[in-house]
């Protein structure tokens, strides 16, 4: 198998956009890529071509905040509170659940077998849907709806463990809930309080929250991402922060924090299949990609991205990565750059 090396990670190309691309999904079998936008559209796009064409799929009326590929359908969720099942071939709506949630949908994921779609929203409910029929299978509800300071809580992200047994949901006030997938029982609550900044004095509101969550390939660890404590909550003025927990014990194993040149939110975390290192992407006014070594417990590499990255997908062979974000779509490679051909005397003139 190809041995991806963070040191070889490099940007290949970017495509400019007028909108903010918030979500992305890629089918590893077919190579199909779909993205979700702030213009309320879902687009199919081939990021591998020099000048990608964006084929629009219209149906939502606000930001597309969740996008998954079930193999048969694309499913999207939006701030408009609806879920839409799309036919990948015709780009037409197959099903629309108008009020899938009472408040804004923040993210979607699927189970590893693609049989279920999970949605989270600011009604603080995680809903599990049958990916084929669209039937609501179960709701998971225990995140508080109003913070202790009287503000609405927000449910940002959801992940399912690779073994399909666990669900993790994360919220504004930096609570992490672990649920049993089969029973819907809440198993454990963890917290990463440094990811939530409440300013009681200067500005009297908050910033932050846990924005990303993922399980390790062996399902024994869960990583969450956000931003550290912020002095001035007007800005994303702290380094991105990832905290790693052991699922069984709930013990916090380590905290990773980037340097001052890489401030902002960790929007997504991706484990390498080996489980030895992971990628964190995000940003503030700019964007970045970080590589975190689980064994060394350190940030081993940080580099600027061409935009604040809202989502990234990596091919299963870990040769390529595709990212979307603020006004950009970008492509990166893990493959080592081929050495320049030596100039012949004739060519050198």
């Amino acid at each position: 198998m190809f041995q991806a090396d963070p040191n070889n990670f490099r940007e290949l190309r970017t495509t400019s956009r007028p909108d903010i691309i918030l979500r992305m999904t890629r089918n590893d079998d077919t190579g199909e890529v779909f993205v979700g936008s702030s213009d309320a559209k879902v687009y199919q796009v081939d990021p591998m071509v020099e000048q990608p064409e964006f084929l629009a799929m219209e149906g939502h009326t606000s930001y597309v905040m969740g996008l998954v590929d079930t193999g048969k359908y694309i499913v999207s969720g939006s701030y408009d509170k609806s879920l839409i099942w799309w036919n990948k071939e015709t780009k037409q709506q197959v099903r629309r659940i108008e009020m899938a949630h009472d408040r804004w949908i923040r993210n979607l994921t699927t189970t590893p077998d693609n049989k279920f779609v999970l949605s989270v929203a600011d009604d603080m409910v995680c809903k599990i849907w049958d990916a084929e029929t669209g039937d609501l299978v179960r709701t998971l509800e225990s995140h508080i709806k109003v913070t202790e300071h009287g503000f609405p809580n927000m449910l940002y992200a959801v992940a399912v463990s690779p073994d399909g047994k666990l669900i993790a949901t994360v919220d504004r006030i930096a609570k992490i809930k672990l649920w049993d997938f089969e029973t819907g029982e809440e198993l454990k609550e963890l917290e990463a309080p440094k990811c939530y900044t409440w300013d009681p004095k200067a500005r009297i509101h908050s910033i932050g929250g846990i924005r990303s969550v993922t399980f390790s390939p062996d399902s024994t660890k869960v990583a969450v991402g956000g931003i550290g404590q912020i002095g001035n909550v007007d800005h994303l003025a702290a380094a991105g922060r990832v905290e790693l927990f052991e699922v069984a014990s709930g013990e916090k194993l380590h905290m990773f924090e980037g340097d001052d040149k890489h401030k902002g939110l960790v929007e997504q975390i991706i484990f390498h299949p080996s489980g030895k290192w992971l990628m964190a992407v995000g940003g503030d006014h700019g964007g970045w990609v970080q590589f975190l070594d689980v064994e060394k417990k350190e940030v081993v590499k940080q580099l600027k991205a061409p935009m604040h990255v809202h989502q990234m997908v990596v091919t299963s062979d870990f040769k390529m990565a595709f990212g979307v974000g603020h006004n950009r779509l970008a492509v990166w490679s893990f493959e080592p750059e081929e050495p320049m051909e030596e100039k012949t005397e004739e060519a050198a003139g």
């Binding site: 606000s62 905040m65 927000m154 009297i204 910033i207 909550v233 007007d234 800005h235 006014h285 935009m307």
Partner: protein, 432 residues
């Protein structure tokens, strides 16, 4: 200068002692400008008797017009929140304001402010004074003008109360009586919802206190005899209000407010201050400002506004309902205003930056033609499309709504100073 011990900003007069020392200083200042604030006639005693009041909800730091009064659904500048239909046919506001959407019948929305100044300090000064600063003349702010014109000496209440608890931007929250003198300076509350040092000391009886005041007045009047001095006059007028101010202390104490009323407003600081403001308004205070800071959402605009607009929607709608139920709204003008709005363009931190070119405010209640929308911005909210107005027009409209002629003139020496810049017109379209 911030005095941590007593928790007040001593640059303005908060407590009784500060009020008195400030009055003397301002009397001297007024004297040096040759304005006799004691002799100068107020607009009309009839106006004072009419019981008109103004309650300003100051959205410090700059609230976004797109997430409040002027949403742009379906545009890239519009952000994620949708627009919802209001009780007014054809009028939509942000879905973050569902409660206000059901009760716009007393409210006029102004969507066409272009105030040009995009920094906090400058913008806040402009939107407190209604005009740009002048080097040789210190203008009074809106609160001081309204305190002077609407305040009733027969009522035992402060004329101008200003709440600003957050520390960020507090220095921009201008409360200056300017050439009107410190008699019209705000009671500026920062760390506590109750004024500091307003209570009579426990070891002084009420009789004792009254006799001390009488003795002070006797000595002061003897000293003033045969002397002509505006500063002396200002000093004595300020002392004359002390016992009235002291008796108003209970207005700041919510312990005697029914629990169901407190529950209705909510537990947040902003909610509690709005409730105190209602009590002051009910008692006759002509101007109360409740500052809610800090809206400066350069990063994460939509999360910040989800928090702050949700709170504003609840507190404002509760306040308006309460005023209406008590029969106070017809004589109380409730204003939402800030130093500017926020950029339609969304930055990479999903924030919005300062934007003074096209933003919104609201006027509710006294003198307002409810259910109106004045002005419009273009489809992306980048420019005013119809009926552009500036700070002066906004101030003229506020003054006219409560019965004050915005072209009334004060005199500083021989120089006439109109309440608003010459040539300014009130927005009659929103006036009843």
């Amino acid at each position: 200068m911030f005095d941590r011990k007593i928790g007040v900003d001593m640059s303005v007069n908060t407590d009784r002692r500060g009020f008195l020392s400030g009055a003397t200083a301002a009397g001297l200042a007024a004297s040096s400008m040759n304005l006799d604030i004691l002799k100068a006639e107020s607009l009309s005693n009839e106006l004072k008797k009419s019981g008109k009041r103004v309650l300003l909800l100051w959205l410090a730091g700059g609230a976004s017009q797109l997430e409040t009064w002027d949403p742009k659904p379906g545009r890239l500048t519009g952000g994620p929140y949708q627009a919802i239909q209001t009780s007014l046919p054809g009028v939509q506001i942000s879905e973050l304001m569902p409660k206000m959407a059901t009760r716009l019948h007393n409210t006029a929305i102004i969507r066409s402010l272009n105030t040009q100044i995009g920094d906090h300090g400058g913008g806040a000064r402009l939107m407190h004074l209604g005009r740009r600063d002048e080097p040789n003349l210190k203008y009074p702010d809106m609160g001081s003008v309204l305190a002077r014109e609407l305040g009733r000496p027969d009522l035992q209440v402060p004329d101008y109360v200003s709440f600003y608890t957050a520390t960020e931007g507090r220095g921009n929250a201008v409360g200056q009586p300017g050439f009107l003198g410190a008699r019209y300076a705000p009671m500026f509350l920062t760390t506590d919802n109750k004024p500091a040092n307003l209570s009579r000391l426990e070891d002084i009886t009420d009789l004792d206190h009254k006799e001390r005041a009488d003795l002070r007045a006797l000595l002061s009047n003897r000293f003033a005899k045969g002397r002509v001095s505006e500063s002396l006059g200002s000093h004595n007028v300020a002392y004359g209000r002390v016992r009235g101010l002291m008796s108003s202390e209970k207005l700041f104490d919510l312990s005697d407010e029914p629990q169901k009323v407190k529950d209705r407003y909510g537990k947040s600081l902003f909610a509690q201050q709005a409730l105190v403001a209602r009590r002051l308004i009910e008692a006759g205070t002509p101007f109360v400002k409740v500052a809610r800071a800090w809206w400066d959402s350069h990063g994460q605009n939509f999360e910040t506004h989800l928090e702050l607009v949700t709170e504003l929607d609840h507190v404002m709608s509760t306040l308006l309902e309460d005023l209406e139920e008590r029969g106070l709204l017809q004589d109380t003008l409730v204003v939402t205003l800030a130093e500017f709005g926020r950029t339609p363009t969304i930055n990479a931190s999903l924030g919005r930056d300062h934007f003074a070119r096209a933003w919104s405010a609201s006027l509710t209640g006294c003198g307002i033609k409810g259910g109106t929308v004045f002005g419009a911005t273009d489809e992306d909210g980048q420019h005013v499309k119809d009926n552009e107005i500036g700070a002066a027009e906004m101030f003229a409209t506020i003054y006219k709504a409560v019965g004050i002629d915005p072209h009334h003139e004060y005199f500083v020496g021989a120089r006439p100073i109109p309440l608003v810049d010459p040539g300014t017109h009130a927005v009659d379209e929103v006036l009843a």
